[in-house]
């Protein structure tokens, strides 16, 4: 093997540009589906978890306990086990267990309860009195959810989504390795199996940059939305 110089690494990486771009698109696809599921399934689930707590609008101890237990159950699975054991379900849903869309199934499974807990936690920070004021004005439960809960917690929700996105960028690398593709998969295939350390380092640097960008955007958005 030739010694790696900065120039050779750069040349090597630029030659791989189409493949890297493909990997970025795969990662983006896995993440979008997983985050979409988190937002549209995990979000409402988090709101339900919050509203059924003792003292809240739809307080129901039993329902809340069962739902909370179920959420914990899914969350307690190590991601790699979820990934492997959901194979049959993935095949039914997407018709295959390979590719970014298939990998998005276990990602979604993990992301939904994770985000639900983040949402529940964030909503708890809203002062009870503010919700009560809306009740006293005759707001319906739906109005309270959309106009009070989500709007008052919006900065915290954006921060939660940022945390989720970054965690799942790393989960997507794991999912990628077992057939999902993406940046992490590329790093392993070239860097680990073919001993092309420059590719591995290049991909890790790429992930570092992506994480920094996501965090930066998340912080900016959250602080702009926060008027407290």
């Amino acid at each position: 093997m030739e010694p790696i110089t900065f120039a050779s690494a750069l040349a090597n990486l630029s030659m791989m540009a189409p493949e890297i771009w493909q990997a970025v698109k795969e990662t983006a696809l896995m993440l979008s589906i997983g985050l979409g599921a988190a937002l549209f399934v995990g979000g409402p689930l988090g709101i339900v978890l919050y509203l059924t707590q003792p003292g809240q609008l739809f307080a129901h101890r039993g329902f809340n306990a069962v739902l909370g237990w179920f959420v914990n159950l899914v969350r307690s699975f190590p991601f790699i086990i979820l990934l492997v054991s959901l194979g049959p379900l993935t095949r039914i849903l997407v018709g295959s267990t390979i590719g970014p869309v298939a990998a998005a199934v276990p990602l979604s499974f993990a992301a939904i309860p994770y985000f639900a807990r983040l949402v529940e936690q964030t909503l708890r920070e809203i002062p009870r009195g503010v919700i009560e004021a809306a009740e006293a004005m005759g707001a319906s439960p739906l109005q309270i959810i959309t106009k009070v809960l989500i709007n008052e917690a919006r900065a915290g929700l954006i921060s939660s989504l940022t945390i989720l996105t970054i965690s799942f960028l790393s989960y997507s690398a794991v999912a990628g390795v077992v057939g999902g593709g993406g940046i992490g998969d590329l790093a392993i295939r070239y860097g680990y199996y073919r001993f092309q350390t420059d590719v591995m380092v290049g991909m890790v640097l790429l992930l570092v940059v992506i994480v920094q960008i996501i965090q930066f955007i998340g912080n900016r958005l959250a602080s702009r939305l926060d008027k407290r």
């Binding site: 009560e132 004021a133 004005m137 005759g138 319906s140 106009k147 008052e152």
Partner: protein, 245 residues
């Protein structure tokens, strides 16, 4: 305007027993009146006030506001009835992510008002409380007194017949307290809104109330008349509250 008939409210104690926060209380407030609820801490003032808009549901008795028994209404009917009962809080309870104008608009959005009507009414209400120049500010940028003015404008916006105020001045300094009380008196005089105000200070009763109920351990001990700032009371409780002032 408001009739509480033999209302009762009990809470579960941590030890599993029951605690009567309000026991078999009846009270009538006339239209256009400023009515005070006074008593020491834990007397049940807030609970009694919150029974009037059913934030607390009574375990027994009737709550009649504007001729309607609120305890008999369905969820949707109760929400509609509540739009006719404004509420002002000690901790203001404004929406932090909405501007002053958007806070005042909130109850109108809930009641389904049209955009243009909301805009006009919000401007009117901000004018009434003297906050026209703060319309675009967020609550975090306001003083306590200004926040409470927003709270009052918000309560007033849907043209309610009744406003309930739970210690609206307890978080404010004496000077601001006076200006907030004047604001409430002004609203009562100009629009004939019935106001029920909870306080633990006889000074508040003296300065704006027409009548007041003295509460102790979940019961009304005495209903007192206030005339020209003079309190006409007999009970020992009234005397001790007067001394505390």
């Amino acid at each position: 305007m408001i009739h509480l008939n033999d209302v009762k409210k009990r809470f579960r104690r941590p030890d599993g027993g029951w605690f009567d926060a309000v026991s078999d209380t009846s009270l009538s407030v006339s239209a256009g009146e400023i009515f005070g609820l006074i008593g020491f801490s834990g007397a049940g003032k807030s609970t009694l006030l919150r029974l009037i808009n059913l934030l607390e549901r009574p375990d027994a008795g009737a709550v009649i506001v504007d001729g309607q028994d609120l305890t008999q209404l369905s969820g949707a009917e109760l929400r509609r009835a509540r739009q006719n009962i404004g509420m002002v809080f000690q901790q203001f309870n404004l929406l932090a992510n909405r501007t002053v104008a958007e806070n005042v608009a909130f109850p109108l959005e809930i009641a389904g008002w049209k955009r243009e009507a909301i805009r006009q009414r919000v401007a009117e209400c901000l004018e009434i409380v003297g906050l026209t120049d703060r319309a675009g500010h967020y609550p975090a940028q306001l003083s306590g007194g200004q926040k409470q003015r927003v709270g009052i404008a918000r309560a007033l916006a849907p043209r309610p017949h009744v406003i309930l105020a739970d210690e609206p001045t307890s978080a404010l300094d004496p000077k601001t307290t006076q200006s907030i009380l004047e604001c409430l008196r002004d609203i009562n005089a100009r629009f004939g809104v019935t106001i029920v105000i909870v306080t633990h200070e006889m000074g508040v009763i003296r300065s704006i109330c027409h009548r007041a109920a003295l509460l102790d351990a979940g019961r009304v001990v005495e209903v007192i008349n206030v005339e020209a700032g003079r309190v006409d009371a007999r009970s020992d409780l009234a005397r001790s509250l007067l001394e505390a002032a």
